[in-house]
């Protein structure tokens, strides 16, 4: 929630964002759901800390102490998916910079408004910079993979009588490497939700699935919000022929039933990855923010403060992006929150129908695989995960909507 860099000369209540925040805070359920989401995000970020078959600490006899777990975080042969690498980079950044950043953010609140915005923008940029740096370092790092299968190695060494110090995460299983001998195990202490056909721990995959689902939701929505906002802004601001063309485009896209279109397009892409899926979802869903933004623009275009901005000679793009756009933030934010939920649902529906990316542990994928078995846990666990995430998002979205819509305020 950054403030726009340039303050409009005759803007509406400048603490509008705070106002919404206060209104939102009054809704206990929505606030709880937001904390739930935050927890989910942390779960996704810290997934490797919860579950990995690489020991956090490892020492053979009196040899040097090492952390195969730490090395594995940026091993592109182990975490081969870009999503996982991104989250691992986040894990490092959040762990190292999270607390100082939060402290700095809070401290910024004591500053005067203008300085606060700038400070927070700088903080945000710094955070993104740190993330990119981590990712870059990771790309530059050698991609050798520790070949050892640690639990097996430990057993082997101990059988030889060599003392081994090994500290594993609470769930010492990999989300990826299955152990054929343990395939399709019923729930037990070692595997609280059992294992799947390849002998992979279901709970571990569920946790890593949160990364996939959140990524799909957030990225697809950011993508289509960007497209939609730009197109909607253009249509609403310029009107006339531009509006006509964009309107037609919107009309064309909304007339084709979206799930049908998504399924058809997905089926005709041969090597589907989750990035394809995100793009497809975005390509179909951008009309919602476009319409919202366009409507807001039409409403604001003739309002006094825009006329005032124009009268004192602000360039056109400044008017669009610094003055009208912040006003459209509210409805777009609401639709984005619901959008994330529906993107997650769409992805799991696609996976369920066999049109997803089968290489990633997405929840829909797991549910579809679980359907062939008679194990209730394999159906209920991913189903419940989807349900909880979507519920949380919907509740937060609902809270935002109530907070933004004064009509529903009590």
């Amino acid at each position: 929630m950054t403030e726009p860099a340039a303050r409009p000369p005759v803007a509406e209540d400048p603490s509008w964002v705070d106002l919404i925040w206060v209104q939102f805070g009054k809704r206990k359920i929505a606030r709880g759901a937001l904390f739930g989401l935050l927890g989910l995000l942390l779960l996704a970020i810290y997934a490797p800390l919860l579950a990995s078959n690489k020991p956090l600490l490892w020492r053979v006899a009196d040899g040097p102490l090492s952390s195969p777990w730490l090395l594995s975080l940026f091993d592109r042969n182990f975490f081969e998916n870009g999503v996982d690498l991104f989250f691992n980079a986040l894990l490092v950044c959040v762990s190292l910079l999270g607390l100082p950043a939060a402290w700095a953010w809070r401290r910024a609140a004591t500053l005067p408004r203008a300085a606060r915005g700038a400070r927070r923008a700088r903080l945000l940029l710094g955070g993104i910079g740190a993330l990119l740096l981590t990712l870059g370092l990771n790309a530059a790092a050698p991609q050798a993979r520790p070949k050892e299968v640690y639990p097996a190695l430990q057993a082997q060494l101990e059988a030889q009588g060599t003392p081994v110090l090994a500290v594993y995460p609470p769930l010492p299983h990999s989300f990826r490497d299955g152990v054929l001998d343990q395939a399709r195990a019923r729930p037990s202490a070692a595997h609280p939700l059992g294992t799947d056909a390849a002998g992979r721990d279901v709970l571990v995959r569920l946790i890593f699935g949160a990364r996939i689902s959140l990524t799909i939701g957030v990225f697809a929505v950011s993508l289509y919000i960007s497209i939609g906002t730009v197109l909607g802004a253009l249509a609403g601001y310029f009107g006339g022929r531009v509006d006509l063309v964009i309107q037609r485009l919107i009309e064309v896209v909304i007339c084709v039933p979206s799930l049908f279109l998504i399924l058809s397009v997905a089926a005709f892409i041969e090597d589907r990855s989750i990035f394809h899926i995100m793009v497809i979802i975005a390509a179909v869903a951008w009309t919602t923010p476009a319409r919202l933004v366009r409507a807001e623009f039409l409403r604001h275009r003739n309002l006094d403060f825009v006329a005032a901005a124009r009268a004192i000679g602000y360039p056109q793009h400044t008017i669009i992006f610094a003055e009208i756009l912040p006003n459209t933030l509210g409805p777009v934010l609401v639709s984005a929150t619901f959008g994330v939920a529906s993107a997650i649902l769409t992805e799991s529906t696609m996976s369920f129908l066999g049109l997803g990316d089968i290489t990633v542990p997405s929840w829909g994928q797991m549910l579809n695989a679980g359907r062939t078995t008679s194990e209730w846990t394999l159906i209920l666990a991913p189903g419940f995960a989807i349900f909880v995430t979507v519920s949380l998002l919907n509740l937060v979205g609902d809270g935002f909507r109530d907070a933004i819509d004064p009509k529903l305020r009590r």
Binding site: A144, D181, A197, A198, A267, E270, G354, T359, S374
Partner: protein, 646 residues
């Protein structure tokens, strides 16, 4: 109170209407019920009448077993020059016939159509054995023996010119059209139920259709066999002559197993007007009757609603042994997960089990009671196929047979078969079905041996020189690491499991493999363009071995050919060519065994396994029996152990 007056009136009239409606519906329901009862009674009377009247051509089946079915057939079988021989056993035991029963089975998807000449697919081939008869069929007991079907006698002197004597008194099924409309009166024939007779002219018409380049679909596969035909003609209504250009072992099976379509129906449009000679091939592709079935087989077509069901009924005029029940209902159930549920609910009589279900229903079944119902039984049969991993021999990495062998050694086939595929099949070491004599049982599948694999790779020059854990080698002056991409069939999750398991093992020997799941069409494109390192695949095979398409080096250079891996081996070429011309069974087996040993040594494929199928069925069916040869499932073999419907 105008308003209340109006509404009162409205309510009264509404009430009246409702009452009238209820009474009406009740009356209609009653009438319908009467009508249904009447028609059932009529059908019963009809069946009784028919039972008393012998039908021409079809001597009522007796318990004579393998005995000849007609005088004509008996005479023909007596001729020692006849290529066809008496069957070793009948398909149906007459005592089992249960009138009034419907056999209910599931099919996973609709066939492309029901014209066996146009529609492609293993399913159509199977269904056509229900409604169609062929020139000759393979014997159930001894598949190398041809037994009479539509033909009773086939003779040849040189394996080039065949003379065929057709069975007399056979009629086509009555087309399933709206006869009452009068539009189809042209299709009526002189036979019983206005049927049209089957003659040699139908065979000639079929051959014309196959050789007409305008036709497309399954015919294009058949055309390959019939292109080298010099001439064919109908000598008379029941005699046929055909001359091939080249002698080939495949000529016989092509001729005998060719689907035959009736001329009276397929040479004309829906109003009975003959097609133009210039374009009739194109018309056949979209013929109005392609979505219905017609034939001379034991079951006649009743209806097909795509996505819902397909129905067949016993043909009362069938010339051979009639099937043991009245109707065959195939309901389309696309979701495989629903199959066991539907069986359990009694909506189906038998189902195929998928590997996952096999695990769930059979391996995990503690009490040994299938689907928790003691009345459900199990049967298994082995399919004519083999799964393999193909190596692109044109890629430097896999040009070396030691490398290919190392790949096979590092693939824990037995483990995967057990854990992922639940032992629903058997490991295989060569390209022949294990039930056929061609399969050389002395050739054992390679073991899972990572140490041996490491040794072979080192021997082939692949060593880890830079210590990054991945072997490398200098090829064309460049140091390349041993990494490769395995294209897997993306629509099935078991491949994903198999690939991820294998990848872990390959890492142990310093090879990095990246699985790439692709849709079938994308996979096909990559294979056609030879743009792959390795891929997973499966071939469905036939009883007789033909090695030309997959293994001959001439095919290796053709784009879009079956020899996608670029296998070029002079010895293999020699064997494949010799096998085409060899008619002696013992010598054929020898050639096959030689070839089997050759590929086991060369490892162009990593041979994986031959799949088995498990079937669950209700015990009101007699123990299920399956054919050794494709399509394996033959509903003519199934029968109920209760005489009539409950």
């Amino acid at each position: 109170m105008r308003q209340s007056g109006q509404s009162t009136l409205l309510f009264i009239s509404l009430g009246l209407l409702t009452t009238i409606n209820v009474i009406n519906s009740w009356q209609i329901d009653h009438l319908e019920r009467l009508a249904i009862e009447d028609s059932a009674r009529l059908a019963a009377i009809e069946a009784q009448l028919r039972a008393g009247v012998p039908v021409s051509g079809a001597a009522t089946t007796t318990a004579a077993g393998p005995a000849a079915r007609s005088a004509q057939e008996a005479e023909a079988l007596a001729d020692p020059k006849n290529l066809l021989r008496a069957p070793t056993r009948p398909r149906v035991r007459a005592a089992q016939v249960s009138p009034g029963r419907t056999l209910r089975m599931q099919i996973g998807q609709d066939p492309q159509g029901l014209n066996p000449l146009i529609a492609k697919g293993a399913d159509v081939n199977e269904y056509s054995t229900y409604f169609n008869a062929f020139m000759a069929t393979r014997d159930i007991g001894e598949p190398e023996r041809w037994v009479p079907d539509l033909a009773v006698k086939v003779t040849t002197d040189d394996d080039l010119r065949y003379r065929i004597e057709l069975r007399k008194g056979v009629h086509w099924h009555r087309p399933a059209v709206d006869w009452a409309s009068g539009r189809y009166d042209w299709a009526k024939g002189p036979g019983p139920d206005d049927r049209q007779p089957f003659t040699a002219h139908d065979v000639v018409f079929t051959l014309d259709a196959i050789r007409n380049t305008q036709t497309a679909g399954r015919v294009s596969d058949l055309r390959t066999y019939f292109e080298p035909v010099v001439a064919y003609r109908a000598v008379d209504d029941h005699t046929l002559e055909i001359q091939f250009k080249e002698k080939a072992y495949t000529n016989r099976s092509a001729l005998f197993e060719m689907p035959i379509i009736p001329r009276f129906l397929f040479s004309v449009d829906e109003d009975g007007k003959p097609f133009d000679a210039a374009t009739w091939g194109l018309k056949l592709n979209e013929h109005w009757y392609n979505q219905k079935a017609i034939g001379t087989g034991p079951l006649q077509f009743v209806s097909w609603e795509p996505g819902v069901k397909m129905e067949f009924a016993r043909d009362p005029h069938y010339f051979g042994e009639p099937v043991a029940y009245d109707r065959l209902l195939m309901s389309v159930v696309k979701d495989q997960n629903a199959w066991p549920r539907k069986l359990k609910a009694g909506e189906l009589d038998f189902i195929y089990l998928q590997p996952e279900q096999f695990k769930t229903e059979i391996l995990d079944d503690k009490d040994g009671v299938l689907l928790d119902n003691p009345a459900i039984k199990r049967a298994d049969f082995s399919l004519f196929n083999y799964f393999y991993v193909g190596w692109n021999a044109d890629r430097p990495k896999f040009a070396d047979k030691r490398v290919r062998k190392a790949m096979t050694l590092s693939f824990n086939r037995a483990g995967v078969l057990e854990k992922v595929l639940y032992n629903q099949g058997a490991l295989t070491s060569g390209p022949f079905p294990q039930q056929t004599p061609c399969y050389d049982k002395s050739v054992q599948p390679l073991p899972f041996d990572l140490e041996a694999a490491k040794a072979l790779l080192t021997e082939a020059g692949w060593t880890d020189t830079d210590g990054d854990g991945v072997r490398d080698k200098v090829i064309d002056g460049q140091r390349v690491p041993f990494t490769f991409t395995l294209i897997t069939f993306g629509s099935s999750s078991e491949y994903e499991t198999i690939a991820s398991t294998w990848r872990e093992d390959l890492l142990q020997i310093g090879v990095q493999m990246q699985p790439l799941p692709l849709e079938w069409s994308a996979m096909l494109k990559k294979m056609d363009e030879r743009d792959f390192d390795a891929f997973t695949g499966a071939w469905v095979t036939t009883w007789e071995a033909d090695l030309m398409q997959l293994w001959h080096s001439a095919e290796a250079d053709k784009p879009k050919s079956g020899n996608r891996i670029g296998f070029r081996n002079a010895e293999a070429d020699r064997i494949a060519e010799a096998l085409r011309l060899e008619f002696d069974e013992a010598k054929r087996v020898e050639l096959c065994h030689a070839f089997h040993r050759l590929v086991a040594e060369e490892q162009p494929y990593t041979f994986f396994y031959q799949r088995e199928r498990t079937v669950l069925y209700w015990e009101h069916l007699n123990a299920l029996e399956f054919l050794q040869i494709p399509p394996h499932r033959d509903v003519r073999l199934f029968s109920f152990n209760q005489p009539a419907s409950p």
